[in-house]
Amino acid sequence: MTTETIKLTSKDFSSDQEVRWCPGCGDYSILKQVQTVLPDLGRPKEEFVFISGIGCSSRFPYYMDTFGMHSIHGRATAIATGLKATRPDLSVWVITGDGDSMSIGGNHFIHMLRRNPDLNVLLFNNQIYGLTKGQYSPTSEQGKVTKSTPMGSVDYPFNPIALCLGADATFVARTLDRDPKHQQAIIKRGYEHKGTSLVEIYQNCNVFNDGAFEVFTEKGTKKQETLMMEHGKPLIFGAENEKGIKLDGFKPVIVNVADVSENELWIHDETDLVKATILSRFYDDPSVEGHFPRPFGVFYVNNNKSTFDELFNNQIEYAKESYGEGDLDKLLAGRETWVVN
């Protein structure tokens, strides 16, 4: 292979199709960030494949000038697993929403995570069904009043990050549509991870669930309500970074940074599954007194688990080494034959 430098721009990744999300939709930002990150990955664009299911977010592949498939509701993960298993040379991305991945596609979603194929999954979480015009989703808060739940939804919501950690995902992160820089950094890290990278993106649906995440994005509340995790750094938040998290045994406690010495604060360690699990449970309703801030960034990375596509294809190679390349005539004849004259 020649090592010609590929100079691509975000424009090279824009297809000629008109983008048809509602004006003001958070999806626009995600599309833009992906188109910004991809040219810098040093990879020819024909190697990128975007697979989506059904839902607003799943229109995404049509707007990318890469290979793409807009498939069936909930099944993008299964299709992508089949593609990556057979074509490990490709960079395969899954675009999915909260309904697509956790309702109808819940089964494939958890099994993809446990198998760990080298896929990049962008989970657009807007806590609502947009394409079907506004029913509650598996991540909608309990009591959500929608067209299908006029008296409020009685369902308890999923906690996507906790679900992914429970399914033994090897890369779990959360970012926001309104924070382009953070989003780009997290998407890039997801791409670099070998194994399934799961990036949950809080995405505003300005038509059916406007402002669902505004406490995490608006100036007045953002610093109080978000906990930006960085590996090796203490977990601090607040308008002046005046608050921090301390672990009292397995119990997280909010402290004033001024009241504790620096080494008493919880230092974020992405490789610690137990701590990631505790962080994933920072999922309180922001209106509740004494709630924890919502963490963003990388919760957990496990670099020690082989990918599904590796293991899957290693067996093929191992079989060839052990038994030699298959000989069809030998196979057709089987072990016992007889001759009729």
């Binding site: 290979f67 498939s71 099944r75 299964a78 697993t81 494939h108 093929i316 069809l328 057709l332 016992e336």
Partner: protein, 615 residues
């Protein structure tokens, strides 16, 4: 002592016992011995869905029937000549299928008070003692006792010793029918190579069975069944699911595409997975997915990536694949869907056979979603039609249903296997690289077969998007244009119809090309219909038999072929499916003949029905 030697043209033996008695293994071993001897044969394993139903009960009876002979054999036989009954339940549930005067080899230990109770035999009765078997030739043997005696010094426990009982019966039958035991000895040695004591025990009991025939006076007759006069060539024994797997592998090798099989275990399709998973060194990649839907979806992913993509299932599993078959149709990617049909809706009768998924294959999807459908007619024919399914899928960029059924999937027959150079070539060409200066790539531009280019990811300049939304013809862009939708629906149908130009014409299997009655069959009923037709012709009736392997589209001459007969009858193991399509498509007043019992046709019932129709 002296034994009388008799030569027979053909023999039907039915092995019946408890699920744990090893009857399937006994049957397949006898099958191999008969095949290697050169007999033609057909088999019918008939087992319960439960892995271990309560011991001794009727529900737990597992049967294996083999019909072997010196003439051509097309069915496992309507009735058996010999019934091996390892217990009362086995006798009770199989005696109906034994010929009057037939031989019963009864394991007396399986007829004790406990077994009689478990088989719900009234208290004062015992078929071995109450004279109810007077019309049969009953050989009572305490197989359990003899097996235990033979292995008294083996050091094995009673449970392990009792598991060798089936080998006694097998040895005895090998003696009765002059079959060599060496192959089975070899089989046992290899199967238990890690447990020499068990291997030795099985071999010892096998030999004890042989010697029992030789020394006791109970068996005064031995039978010779000469090798069959079959077409010259090299043969092997093959089961349907095995042949299906080989057909798929052959297509993979001939097309030089690696094969991906995405599936989820289900009876009776699972053996296709088991078989394929053995051949990883042939570039065969099998994926046991988390569910049936992921099975087909992963295959669609593999098809997009340029593999020969297959999915397989049965019964309700096929229902679950419906939506994804629709997607594959829209994507116009090659995909083979293996459906090893089983009986009934929902869970139905998982281990029983039926051909009730034809209409589902034709029409069972939302919108109008035509696919190609082919069906195998016998265990060995699974190879041919699985290969054809792949060839058509790849040549025409289209999903193809390959229909098998539980009966041929588990049945075995001799197979004059082809050499690889005799297989029809399969040429696959992916769309080539394009430069920025070239015209824009059009993913739905069609060739003379109306098939679109296979543009696999990783190919420079071919970036494109496909999906389940209606496509604009040629560009492949999303299109809600009314005229375009109509065009695309018609194009997808036409694409299927055009396949008729690339498949063989329909032939008459047996009989004249015109006459009073055409028996038009499809799928696994082939053997029974062939046997029945031969008998009817021999009796002077004007009857012919044609068996359809290409069901969508039909061979181009099918209409004309049917028009030469006064009557057309369509026998099917369903409530009338092919007959509906034939009537709809050809305006032929075809007569339905149906059996819906989870069991194959017996040739005698076909013969009787045809006579009734002929008047």
């Amino acid at each position: 002592m002296s034994t009388v030697e008799t030569t027979l043209e053909s023999v039907v033996i039915r092995f019946a016992g408890d699920s744990g008695d090893g009857m399937q293994l006994t049957g397949t071993q006898f099958t191999n011995a008969a095949a290697l001897f050169g007999n033609d044969l057909a088999t019918f394993p008939d087992f319960p869905a439960e892995i271990r139903a309560p011991i001794g009960t009727i529900a737990g009876v597992s049967g294996y029937q083999i019909h072997f002979g010196s003439t051509r054999i097309h069915t496992p036989g309507d009735q058996s000549d010999v019934l091996v009954a390892m217990n009362v339940a086995a006798l009770k549930s199989n005696i109906k299928g034994l010929k009057k005067g037939g031989v019963i080899i009864a394991n007396t230990d399986g007829f004790d008070a406990k077994n009689l109770r478990l088989a719900n035999v009234p208290e004062d009765q015992n078929p071995l003692k109450d004279g109810s078997l007077a019309g049969y030739d009953v050989k009572e043997i305490d197989v359990t006792k003899i097996t235990r005696a033979a292995l008294a010094d083996s050091g094995l426990g009673t449970k392990e010793i009792d598991r060798c009982k089936n080998m006694f019966v097998l040895g005895l039958l090998y003696w009765m029918y002059h079959r060599p035991i060496e192959n089975t000895i070899e089989f046992i040695s290899s199967k238990f190579k890690k447990n020499q004591a068990i291997a030795d025990a099985n071999i010892k009991v096998l030999q004890a069975g042989w010697s029992y025939g030789e020394t006791t006076e109970m068996f005064a007759q031995r039978y010779n069944v000469a090798p069959a006069k079959m077409e010259a060539g090299i043969y092997r024994s093959i089961m349907g699911n095995q042949a299906t797997a080989l057909g798929l592998i052959a297509a993979s090798v001939k097309s030089t595409l690696p094969l991906f099989y995405g599936t989820y275990p289900i009876t009776p399709a699972s053996d296709v997975l088991h078989e394929l998973s053995k051949y990883k060194n042939y570039n065969i990649k099998t994926f046991q997915a988390e569910d049936v839907i992921a099975g087909i979806c992963s295959a669609i992913g593999a098809a997009f990536g340029g593999h020969l993509a297959i999915t397989g299932s049965s019964g309700p599993g096929i229902a679950l694949k419906t939506e994804a078959i629709g997607l594959a149709t829209m994507l116009e990617l090659p995909l083979v869907v293996v459906n090893v049909q089983r009986a009934g809706p929902s869970t139905g009768l998982p281990t029983k056979t039926e051909q009730a998924d034809l209409l589902q294959s034709y029409y069972g999807r939302n919108g109008e979603c035509p696919v190609v459908i082919v069906a195998a007619q016998s265990p060995a024919d699974c190879f041919n039609m699985a290969y054809e399914a792949c060839r058509i899928a790849l040549d025409h960029m289209i999903p193809v249903f390959f229909l098998s059924d539980g009966y041929i999937a588990n049945g075995a027959e001799p197979w004059r296997f082809p050499t690889s150079d005799k297989l029809q070539p399969i040429h696959v060409e992916f769309a080539g690289e394009r430069q920025a200066t070239d015209d824009k790539f059009m993913p739905y531009l069609r060739d003379e077969k109306l098939s679109r280019p296979w543009a696999v990811p990783g190919t420079k300049g071919l970036e494109h998007r496909i999906g389940g939304l209606e496509k604009q013809n040629i560009t492949g862009n999303i299109s809600y244009d009314p005229e375009n939708h109509e065009l695309m629906v018609k194009l997808r149908q036409e694409k299927v119809d055009l396949v008729a130009n690339y498949i063989p014409e329909q032939t008459i299997d047996n009989g004249a090309d015109s006459g009073d009655l055409l028996i038009l069959g499809w799928g696994g009923t082939y053997g029974a219909l062939k046997t029945a037709t031969a008998q009817l012709i021999a009796e002077g009736y004007s009857v012919s038999h044609a068996h359809v392997q290409y069901l969508s589209p039909f061979p181009k001459n099918l209409g004309e072929l049917m028009s030469k007969f006064k009557k057309v009858v369509v026998p099917e193991l369903n409530n009338g499916q092919l007959v509906k399509i034939i009537r709809d498509k050809y305006f032929v007043d075809a007569i339905a003949y149906n059996k819906i019992q989870g069991q194959p046709f017996m040739s005698i019932e076909v013969v009787n029905k045809m006579k009734e129709i002929l008047g």
